[in-house]
């Protein structure tokens, strides 16, 4: 189960938790193809990042409990510290710390047909990014503004890290209960408090590895 906490208290780090599982996945992970979208439909200027724009999630919201809580884990990797490794099928994002350690964050990922894999870099970072609902969302919810400047009700959440030249981003959310689910159009979402933490650690140019699924 996943719960959220609206306090500003950071989650406690639990070193070496789930070490065996993570190590196994890291060792057996597949080689990476170049970044490519899984679906042509996912290639659009805007993103469908949820069905409830306007909902509020404060920037302090973090995942406190359960597997999707931010935590320090054993993570065997040859990638340099600062690399982001996303395991779509596990709904985890790893921030590589080096020395076989990583910070693990729970994420929401693309729904079926909108998941992808690749190797990209963080091309840009933005605080409280703007949001442009995609046309199909406007069709379903015609009362939505066609552009929403960044803010607490914005589905893009508190921070965004843009992935290369793709339309995809790692961003916050105003729906933290969707962490661990697959409902986006290919973006990766974290609770606002968690994405703020990740944002503060991540530099523009950071390597981002997206693994669609672990192959055992």
């Amino acid at each position: 189960m996943t719960t959220q906490d609206t306090t500003s208290t950071r989650s406690s780090m639990r070193p070496w938790l789930a070490a065996a599982m993570v190590a196994t996945v890291a060792l057996l992970a597949p080689s990476l193809a170049q970044a490519q979208a899984a679906s042509a439909a996912a290639q659009r200027e805007t993103m469908n990042v949820g069905d409830e724009p306007g909902r509020i999630s404060t920037e302090e919201t973090i995942i406190r409990d359960g597997p999707y809580a931010r935590q320090l884990v054993f993570f065997r990797s040859n990638d340099p510290p600062g690399t982001l490794v996303i395991h779509t099928s596990e709904r985890f994002l790893y921030y590589v710390l080096g020395n076989n350690r990583a910070l693990r964050y729970g994420i929401g990922v693309g729904r079926e047909g909108f998941q992808w894999s690749g190797l990209v870099k963080v091309s840009r970072k933005a605080e409280w990014p703007d949001w442009t609902p995609p046309p199909e969302m406007i069709t379903r919810q015609p009362y939505l503004p066609r552009f929403m400047a960044g803010g607490p009700g914005n589905p893009m959440g508190a921070r965004a890290m843009y992935l290369g030249s793709t339309v995809y981003r790692i961003h916050g959310t105003n729906q933290p209960e969707t962490i661990g689910q697959s409902i986006s159009s290919g973006c990766f979402r974290l609770a606002n408090g968690d994405v703020i933490d990740l944002f503060s650690r991540t530099n523009v140019g950071a390597k981002v590895v997206i693994r669609h699924s672990a192959q055992l």
């Binding site: 015609p142 503004p145 066609r146 552009f147 929403m148 009700g153």
Partner: protein, 154 residues
């Protein structure tokens, strides 16, 4: 006969739009609109048309939000209603309703159902000209979630 109903001088202040309400050239009409009641209704014809629609929360974002609304991407279409109102949406509801412009005793103008002006489902008209309208939801929750709307005529 048209006359200027209301034109309040806007004073730049930290609260931004909340202190600036201008609705030009609207003439009260007989209560034949969907908002008939013991208050004035105003002709809503000038709302009819296609509008670029965007929202913002902080005053610093207003200018660029206005520029984006001016691009008229996926314009919001306001049509004339069966009576004197216009067909529009309310917050969080994909159904269109006939809404009317209503004048409150304090001079503020609202857009909404046949309820007294200032109803929680109303929008407050912050400013309105032939080319641009600025509105916000009366309901504090909806206002917080969606921010202030700018409509720019396409």
């Amino acid at each position: 006969m048209k006359h200027r109903v209301e034109k309040l001088a806007c004073v730049a202040m930290a609260l931004g739009l909340s202190a600036c309400a201008t609705v030009e050239n609207l003439t009260p009409t007989a209560s034949r609109s969907p908002a008939s009641g013991s208050y004035e209704t105003l002709p809503a014809d000038r709302l009819i048309g296609k509008w670029g629609m965007a929202s913002y929360r902080e005053e610093k974002d207003r200018a660029r939000t206005e520029r984006i609304a001016r691009q008229c991407r996926q314009p919001y279409v306001i049509a004339k209603g069966p009576t004197d109102g216009v067909m529009m949406h309310v917050a969080d509801d994909s159904q269109q309703y006939e809404l009317a412009l209503k004048r409150a005793r304090d001079g503020k103008t609202y857009l909404g159902f046949a309820t007294p002006p200032g109803d929680p489902q109303d929008r407050e008209i912050v400013s309105m000209t032939d080319k641009e309208m600025i509105m916000r939801f009366v309901d504090p929750d909806a206002n917080t979630r969606y921010g202030t709307f700018i409509y720019v005529r396409c």
